[in-house]
Each structure stands twice: as C-alpha cells, then as structure tokens.
C-alpha cells in the first residue's frame, strides 16, 4: 500500500513537471500546428541560464538563502527560456510559416541539436552534469501510511507551482483579450487577421508564454533533483510531447492531465510491469503509439485538427 502510494507521489511530482513543459508544446501546436521539438531544449536552457546566473553572476550573500535565491532563479529561468523561445520563433520558424510541413519539423530538430550543443560547447564544464546551487528545501513530509510515504518539500513545490501556473494560463487564455486573440488565431489565422489581430504577435506571445513556463519547470527540476545536464531537455521534452498528445494536443487542461498520466505510467510501470525500470521508458512510448493510433485526439480532444 505504501509502495503504491509512494509510486503515485513519485508519478505526480514528475508528472507535474512534465505537464508544465507540455503546456508549451500544446499551445504552440494549437496555434501553428508545429511540433516544436526544440521545446525540451528551451526547458534545459532555462535551467542553465538560472544556474549560470546564480553561479557566476549573483553575489554569494544572495545565493545562500534559498527563499531569496529560488524566486530569483525562477524568474531568470523563465526569462532566459522566454528569450530563447522568442528568438527561435523569429529566426527559425517564422520564415517557414507557409513552407511544407516537413520543413518546420526538420528545422525544429536542427534547433534542438544546436541548442543542446551550444550549451555543451559554451557553458563551462557543461559536458558533465552541473550541480544545482545547494539551496534545495531539505526534508520531506511523511504521510503515515504503511511504512510511511515520504513527500519531499521540493516536490510539493513543483506540484503546487505547476497547478497554479496551469490554472493561471487557463484563465488567461479563456478570459483575457489577448487570450481570446490566441484562440481566434488558433481557429483560423486569416480570419483572425481580418478581425484586427496580428497573428505574428500572437504567435510570439504563445512561444514566449510556453518558453517561460518551460524555464520555470527547468529551475524547479534542478531544485528537486539537485542537478541539471544537457540531456534533460531531450528526454523530458519527448515525455512532455507525449503528455500533450495524451491530453489532446492544443488543450491546456489536457496537457496537465497528460503530464500526470505520463508520470504515473513511468513510476508504476517501473514497479509493476515486467522488465522494471529498464523498460519504463519503453512503456511510455507504447502508450504514446497506442494513443496516437486509437485515440489521436487524446483525452480532451475536442480541438483535434488534422490538416492533411
């Protein structure tokens, strides 16, 4: 019982992180039907930006107090990721707005490789994992079930922040003027243009928002696991994409639910399915394929659109 509970806790924490990244995937796909492969790297770059700032820029007086440093790092991570996402949209994707669909996807692959390598080459000692500044919130809450179910405080932070941000984003998209413009652009770019919306600006906004969320996720990731590495973007990016598809791509609630589902699949598959941890990754992909084949619109797939 306590094992199951613990695995669910593990799954929810990882799942919240993945959901946070998946929001960026889902929004971008909703608006320009692009699988932004490089989004996982945006997440990674945000983490490096924040850690780099904390390590090389901020004075040590600041970096010793976690309650002070962590918010700063989250903001910096969000900013760095946002800027990278905006630049990426502007210089890599926008010129291809009307190109055949393969072109932006291949570009996204290129951006992904280039971003990862840029960090590896230019960030000091980035070839190996980089420790996160030791500001993590120590300790764990232990639920009194069976042998006890520990929940780390830094994990609770992830879940709370992810849910709050997802909720805020949902409110933004549904209730603000800009949010409506985003939805209008997602429906039909040309009609939106006729209605006085500048689709380019809306698209940039989408990338910026998705990027910022990924940046926050990057810092929370580092805080929870206590290190970052250049591979973290690829794997978590794929997970996040899977989550976005699972939840119904283009759907904000779906992304969060999908993320949680992926987290749970990973932790529970490692525990209960044959092959254990060695195959948990495989199970996630099996689920992905099954979902794409049998229910491509995902859990919340009313906005599913397949343009041939």
């Amino acid at each position: 019982m306590s094992i199951l509970m613990s695995q669910i806790v593990n799954g929810l924490i990882l799942g919240s992180l993945i959901g946070l990244i998946a929001l960026g995937y889902t929004m971008v796909y909703g608006i320009i039907q692009l699988i932004n492969f490089a989004h996982g790297e945006v997440f990674m770059v945000g983490a490096y930006g924040a850690v780099g700032t904390a390590t090389f820029v901020l004075p040590t007086a600041v970096t010793t107090q976690w309650w002070f440093l962590l918010p700063i790092m989250i903001v910096i991570g969000a900013l760095v990721s946002m800027v990278v996402a905006i630049l990426m949209e502007r210089f890599a994707y926008r010129p291809l707005r009307n190109a055949p669909r393969l072109a932006p996807l291949i570009t996204a692959l290129g951006v992904s490789v280039a971003l990862q390598e840029a960090v590896r080459v230019f960030y000091p000692e980035a070839t190996a994992a980089i420790p996160f500044p030791s500001i993590f919130i120590p300790g764990a809450l232990v639920l009194p079930i069976g042998d006890g179910v520990p929940i780390q405080y830094s994990g609770i932070l992830i879940v709370v922040v992810a849910l709050v941000l997802a909720f805020a984003l949902n409110t933004f998209v549904e209730q603000t003027r800009l949010g409506r413009a985003m939805r209008a652009t997602a429906q039909d770019r040309d009609v939106a243009r006729l209605m006085g919306i500048n689709p380019d600006r809306v698209i940039v906004l989408t990338f910026a928002l998705g990027g910022a969320l990924a940046g926050v996720a990057g810092v929370l990731y580092g805080n929870f696991y206590n290190f970052i590495n250049i591979d973290m973007g690829f794997q978590n990016g794929i997970f996040a994409f899977t989550a976005a598809v699972l939840g119904g791509i283009g759907n904000i609630r779906g992304a969060v639910v999908g993320g949680l589902a992926i987290g749970l699949i990973k932790s529970l598959a490692g525990q209960y399915l044959p092959g254990g941890g060695a195959y948990d990754y495989v199970w996630i992909f099996v689920v992905l394929i099954a979902v794409l084949v049998f229910r491509p619109q995902g859990f919340f797939g009313e906005t599913e659109r397949v343009r041939a």
Partner: protein, 411 residues
Amino acid sequence: MTRRRTVAAAAILAGALALTACGTNRQEAPGTGAGGASCDTSKGTLVIGMVAPLSGGLSALGLGMRNSADLAVKQANESCAVPGYQLVFQAEDDQATPQVAGQAATKLASDDNVVGVVGTLNSSTAQTVQPILAGKSIVQVSPANTGPSLTRGEDPTGAPKRQFESYFRVSTTDLVQGPFAANYLVQKAGKKNIAVIDDGKTYGVGLANEFAKQAEKLGANIVARERVGEKDTDFNPVITKIRPLNPDAVYYGGEYPVAGPLSRQLAGQGLDIPLMGGDGIVDAKFVELGGREGDLATNVGAPTESLPSAAKFVADYKAANYPEPYSAYGAFAYDSTNVIIQALKTALAGGDYNPETTRPAIVKAVQDIKLDGAGGPISFDEYGDTTNKLLTVYTVKNGEFTPIETGTFEG
C-alpha cells in the same frame, strides 16, 4: 538582404581581426612546436594516436583523456624521451559509436608513423578498434575499458583466452573491482541486504554483475537488481521499489553523473543507507551532485596522496591550463601514453624506426614494461590486463573522497 548580411559578416570579421590586432605569436625557434628546441629530432616525426569520444555526450571523459595524453606527449618531447624523434599526438573522435571508431582506427592504422594508440573509452568501440590495430601490429593501450572479454575472450573466468597480442589496458576489469568492492561491503562493512542498480551500459552492468556474484558468494542477500536509464534523472520510482525490501546498502554500477543524484534521492526518500560504486564515481562532482557522507567507492591503485607520481600529474595538468578537467580517466590516459612512449624508446634502442619491425617490438616492450604511473605501478599479465590489482576503498568524508583502506584483490 544580401548587403546587410555581407556588412554583418564584414563587421564580425573586422571585430575578430581587431581583437588580435596586428600582433603575431612568432617564436624564436620556429616550426618545432612547444619548446623542444634543444632535442634532436633529426630522424623525423612519430605519432601517438588516440581514439575517444571528443564530441557528443561522453566528451567530458574523452576530452579529459585527450588532454592528459597530450600532456604526456608534450612532456616526452620536452625531456627528449625518444632520441632523434619528435612525437606528435593525434586524437581522433569516435563519437562513441563503433563504426566511427573503426574509421578513426583505420585512419591511424594507415599512417606508417603511428607507433601506438591510446583508447578507447567504451568497450563497444574497443571491440571494433582492436582487430584493425592488431592487423598492423600497432599497440593499443586503453585507459578505460573494463569489459573482461576484451582481453580474456568470451568466457573470461572459465576459459580465458587472449584476444589480441597488441591490446593492453591500465584500467582494471570488472572481474577485479566488483569482487573487491563486495569483499569490503559484505565482510568489512557488514552489509547483508544489498540492492544492486546499474545504468545499462557496459561498464556499469559488468561491474554490478561481478559485484553481485561475489556478494552472494559471501553470503549477502541481493534484495533487488534494478536498472535506471542512462539519461534518466528521476530515480524515485526505483528507490520506492527497493525501499520496502529494507536494503542496508546500495551498490551502483555506473558513473558519477547518475550516482550523485541517486545518492541524494535515496536520502530524499528517507533511505539513509550508503551508496557504493566503482572508479566511475570517484570524482569531486559526485559530492556536488548529491553524494552523501558515508558513501563508498573503490578506485584502482593506491590513494593519490600516497603516490608522488599522481600528485605530479595533477599539478602538471593544472599548470598546462587545459580548458577541460582531466576527469575520470585522465590519469590512466596519461599513464597509457607514457607506456607507449617508454616502450617506443625501448623498442628503438637508438635505432631507426621501421613500421615493419618496430611496431611488433613496441608490443613486446609494452608486455614487459614496468612503470610507476599516476595510477600506480604498471605492468601487464599474459592477457594484457594490468597486474596492478591494488585497489583502495574510499568514503566521502567532509565532502571529499577519503581513503579507508588499500588492498590487493586475490582471485
């Protein structure tokens, strides 16, 4: 558009040139590379090659190997180690994939001036490189391969059989290190319920397997045998899985980038038991990444402090100002290079280099070599493995790996 780009390019170019200004780096004695002006290099240039991953995910280790070997070659040139010849170091990128490694090895093998090759890092690349170099009798000394079958064939313990006369390694095999760790953990530290985790890679799986075998032989209980993804970062599911089995120690086969976080996540889940690993986790980064006080590791050779040659290597490496750290296999790469240089000297014995005859002579000289390296004394057994079975157990104390005891593994 065209013009703007041209202008931008010109501006960047101008900026780059302005940075360097109108200076030069002209030296007094041109054309001889760093120093070495006083040595006699009249007989030409000989090449020491390397095959290692210099790009991609494993480049941290590969670049450390490259720099360390480069340091050894530079020092040899400065000290005129091989009279009459200038040594050149040529590192080839294998991208950690076998076919590229084969290509790199072929490149080196088809150069008549190559006297020996240091590398590889991965066992799978070594498998491709071995026959290519062996075909030309070029000696290969690996600082990092640990798979027993590379030297002892398919059945390394039952029916060992030497694979290639020209292949040697200064690193110790899983057959030595795993059991040594098991001896300590079970007999000295008294751990009876051990969870074994590996990362699915050659080094980690081999080490974990050999550890588990010996630990069971000694009566310990292997409560779990788990694997984590090599790019994974979230180990909580695995930890949750082993927690109810009440292990009193975790043995991890793999390297520090995973081991550090794994150790910390163990504590995070309330499992306050020591994590033990092999030489792959002995790195200052292990602690930075989450390694805890009391974690254990085995490493080949005697502790660095007790070995003047090791301390000298560390100091020299620092003085040479390489951009990358020497990392896990730096010292061994340095030793491997020195093995080749010394063997070359022996084989030449003042004579002239001739690929047909000198190369086999080098192989023979390596087989018989006796050297004090940065990782301890070096010599090779009948399979090409290092005879240096001296290992040290370390523990993390005050944030650093501190030696506990040094011993020799016997059978």
